[in-house]
């Protein structure tokens, strides 16, 4: 059976929720698809137990109100646990397939969000090394603290709520290591002052960490992880790094979990499959290009594709909400997109741009790699193999390395390593976009394909 909706929204985080709400309020019939068991996305991930959720989130009220508004809107049909594995354009319609349903629409709003950006380093495949997002998902989605002694490291404002959350719920944080220098905050101070809520939020986390005597170090990074005899994480090497991420000195820190993130990578999988125009953002990530109405650029005049939230550039929940509202109204052809909404978006964009300048990821991380360091976790391709592809086999870009070494060809389809491989080859715009494109949105088995009658 084919499910038809006037507008389909893909992703139930802040951007997708607001897009669905605004489109429905403008009179459209909306389908909202999410792969998770509950709406909210990564930002408003919750357990479904109200008392727990309010304790886990500093601002869950806003999220639960929006989720309720969407769930109770008769114009919106919500499809949860619905993992889309294929999208295509068939007879001037957009067709999306999950394992159990086929959806068809003329108007699609992409709100697929982002995931943690990881950087390869020796030992990053050891069980116990996780992303900061994983630690957050465990806490907010399952009420579980990731380990007994946890290091939180990497760069970006996201490290603070992760560390503060764990600490506030009784977890032991042995250190928060922020790669950026404290003084670099000065660069963004003018924008930060214009967003007082963010300042209050940031100070709240720092206060929690101080109260619980958690050490917050700037200009430090985890540059290697080490396993014990049981194969599990036992300690990490912490380095004092310069502004280019080159190591100045190191020391060892015992821990069973290292939660590490280097900002976020937008999830644009669906854009590649639909041949929607993408570009490289100022922070080096591949994003979906949109116009002033959040409309994406593609060649079929009979369909409309919009994008909102992190897939159009990392910017946080306030920007995602503004973009979602605009995309929803534009898709519903509502002429009432207010200047106030556009102003809100512009302000949030400025804030995001400044933050990315405060938390750069410098190329010096490549000096942390050893010959044996895995670059591609899925296909277990080492740094040495990638280097040999470049030096001996003549690979000049990420695509070449992929064909020669299988890096980026595993189950995750390059979602984790793709950005780093592009960086290793100092890839140009075309190479980065091609490497981020994948025909299948999520891997399925041949048996599942056969069940669908496609084999």
């Amino acid at each position: 059976m084919i499910i038809n909706h006037q507008i389909l929204v893909l992703g139930g985080g802040p951007a997708g929720l607001n897009a669905a709400k605004y489109a429905a309020n403008a009179g459209a019939d909306v389908g909202l698809i999410d792969s998770g068991v509950r709406l909210g996305g990564q930002y408003w991930r919750h357990t479904g137990d109200i008392s727990v959720d309010h304790a886990m989130h500093h601002n869950f009220d806003q999220g639960s109100l929006l989720i309720d508004a969407v769930l109770t809107n008769p114009q919106i049909k919500v499809y949860l646990e619905c993992q889309i594995w294929s999208v295509s354009i068939v007879n001037d319609s957009i067709v999306l397939r999950s394992l159990f349903q086929i959806f068809q629409t003329q108007k699609l709003i992409i709100a697929t969000g982002a995931y943690d950006r990881s950087i390869p380093f020796p030992g990053w495949d050891i069980p116990g090394v996780i992303t900061a997002g994983a630690a957050q998902a465990l806490l907010k989605g399952s009420g579980v603290i990731a380990g007994k002694n946890i290091v939180v490291a990497g760069t970006g404002p996201f490290l603070l709520p992760v560390a503060a959350g764990i600490s506030r719920h009784g977890g032991n944080i042995v250190g928060v290591l922020e790669a950026a220098y404290k003084t670099s905050w000065v660069k963004g101070i003018t924008t930060l002052i214009r967003s007082p809520f963010k300042i209050v939020e940031g100070f709240g986390y720092i206060k929690t960490l101080r109260k619980n005597k958690v050490e917050l170090r700037f200009g430090h990074a985890v540059t290697a992880a080490h396993a014990g005899a049981d194969g599990l994480l036992e300690s990490v090497t912490v380095a004092n790094i310069d502004r280019n991420f080159n190591v100045k000195s190191t020391y060892s820190l015992k821990c069973d979990v290292a939660a590490i993130s280097w900002g976020f990578t937008p999830d644009t999988s669906i854009a590649g499959a639909l041949d929607v125009r993408q570009r490289v953002n100022h922070d080096g990530s591949v994003i979906i290009e949109v116009d002033d109405d959040q409309r994406a650029i593609q060649s079929n005049a009979l369909i409309e594709i919009y994008a909102a939230g992190e897939s159009t550039g990392i910017g946080g929940s306030e920007l995602a909400l503004a973009e979602g509202a605009i995309a929803g109204l534009a898709a519903a052809h509502d002429p009432g997109i207010s200047n106030q909404l556009r102003k809100l978006r512009r302000r949030a964009q400025k804030f995001a741009h400044t933050l990315s300048k405060v938390y750069p990821v410098a190329s010096g991380w490549q000096s942390w790699l050893t010959s044996e360091t895995l670059i591609c976790r899925c296909e277990e391709v080492t740094y040495q193999t990638v280097r040999e592809a470049a030096e001996e086999l003549g690979a000049i870009d990420a695509r070449g390395a992929k064909l020669m070494t299988r890096c980026g060809m595993g189950m995750c389809q390059g979602r984790i390593c793709g950005r780093s491989i592009s960086d290793l080859f100092d890839g140009n715009q075309v190479d980065r976009i091609q490497f981020a494109s994948r025909p299948i949105i999520t891997p399925i088995t041949l048996g599942e394909l056969a069940q669908e009658g496609l084999l």
Binding site: A137, G143, C412
Partner: protein, 80 residues
């Protein structure tokens, strides 16, 4: 509280938790051994992107523990 088995051993979990969360609560960190180097792997991205926390769940291989909710009576096995 519900129970599930991991490699044949009965473990406790809270309904609504992911399989990954339930395993971590029980101090189980290894979900699989890799195809080429036979190296242990566990939870990494935690949100269904990286395919590292793959497990055999109710007989089905390559299931992501981080986005699968634990169920009463579920059988979970390490994937080799």
């Amino acid at each position: 509280m519900i129970t599930f088995t991991f490699n044949g051993v009965e473990l406790f979990a809270i309904s609504g938790q992911s399989v990954s969360a339930a395993l971590l609560t029980n101090n189980e960190r290894i979900t699989r051994y890799t195809r080429i180097n036979n190296s242990p792997r566990g939870l990494f991205c935690g949100i269904g992107v990286c395919f590292d926390c793959l497990l055999i769940i109710d007989g089905k291989p390559n299931q992501r523990g981080c986005i699968t909710m634990v169920q009463s009576g579920m059988t979970v096995e390490i994937q080799k």
